[in-house]
């Protein structure tokens, strides 16, 4: 269990998500944040078996500029927490191979009330989508691969 790292090799499996989330919440409970939190919201990004012409997406291979990603994920967490009055926010993202149906991204937030949690969760997910130095290549059922076209959004976190 490594609470420091945001990047995880391979899919974020259900048991891992449970353990990681529990460890994170225990750490929060120790610093007293738990008593003030009335809302916890989470988001999982999951690989869709989308059709691509005659093929379907079987998996996605993620790559990241790891040291830069770690720093930017930390900055996103701080910025979204401040802006949305969150008690805590935590981002995890896969690198390497993740198959269709598996989870490649997890964001969890805690806040005093539900409105802050909803807004903060959405903001954190959009920040990852727009600002994380991560790239992906689809592995197709026909054996081919395809880079997924990305975006250079304005920095939104």
């Amino acid at each position: 269990m490594n609470l420091e790292s945001h990047l995880v090799n391979g899919p974020l499996l259900p048991l891992w998500i449970c353990e990681q989330t529990a460890a994170w919440e225990e750490a929060l409970a120790r610093d007293g944040a738990a008593a003030r939190s009335g809302a916890c919201a989470s988001f999982q990004g999951i690989i869709r078996a989308d059709a691509v012409g005659e093929d379907t997406v079987e998996a996605i291979e993620y790559s990241a500029y790891a040291p830069l990603a770690e720093r930017l994920f930390n900055e996103m967490e701080r910025s979204v927490a401040n802006r949305h009055n969150l008690h805590a926010v935590r981002i995890w993202h896969s690198v390497g191979l993740v198959r269709a149906g598996q989870c490649s991204m997890l964001v969890v937030v805690r806040a005093g009330h539900r409105a802050e949690a909803f807004d903060g969760l959405r903001a954190a997910v959009e920040a990852v989508k727009a600002g994380a130095p991560v790239w992906k290549r689809e592995l197709l059922s026909g054996g081919g691969t395809r880079w997924v076209e990305g975006t250079f959004a304005q920095q939104i976190f």
């Binding site: 990004g45 993620y62 790559s63 990241a64 500029y65 040291p67 830069l68 720093r71 993202h93 490649s104 991204m105 997910v125 990852v128 989508k129 727009a130 600002g131 994380a132 130095p133 991560v134 790239w135 992906k136 880079w147 997924v148 076209e149 990305g150 975006t151 250079f152």
Partner: protein
Amino acid sequence: MPSPMPVTVLFFGSLSDVAGTDRLELPSPGDLHALQSGLEARFPALQQTPYRITVNLEFTHGNTGLAPGDEVALLPPYAGG
């Protein structure tokens, strides 16, 4: 004159296909613009792809000097999540 010192160039996402590798060690041309000119001459498709640049994990805009051991990264549009 000292011989040029190497810098590391990292290619991410589709740029690793353009360069045929995700990492090159190159003799430093002295500054970033010279490095880019060299890379674009060697890999013309670089000119068709937008990318951001970091030097030692800091985003750069415009030219900057390169020192021995610097790590230059070429980042095409992000596609996380």
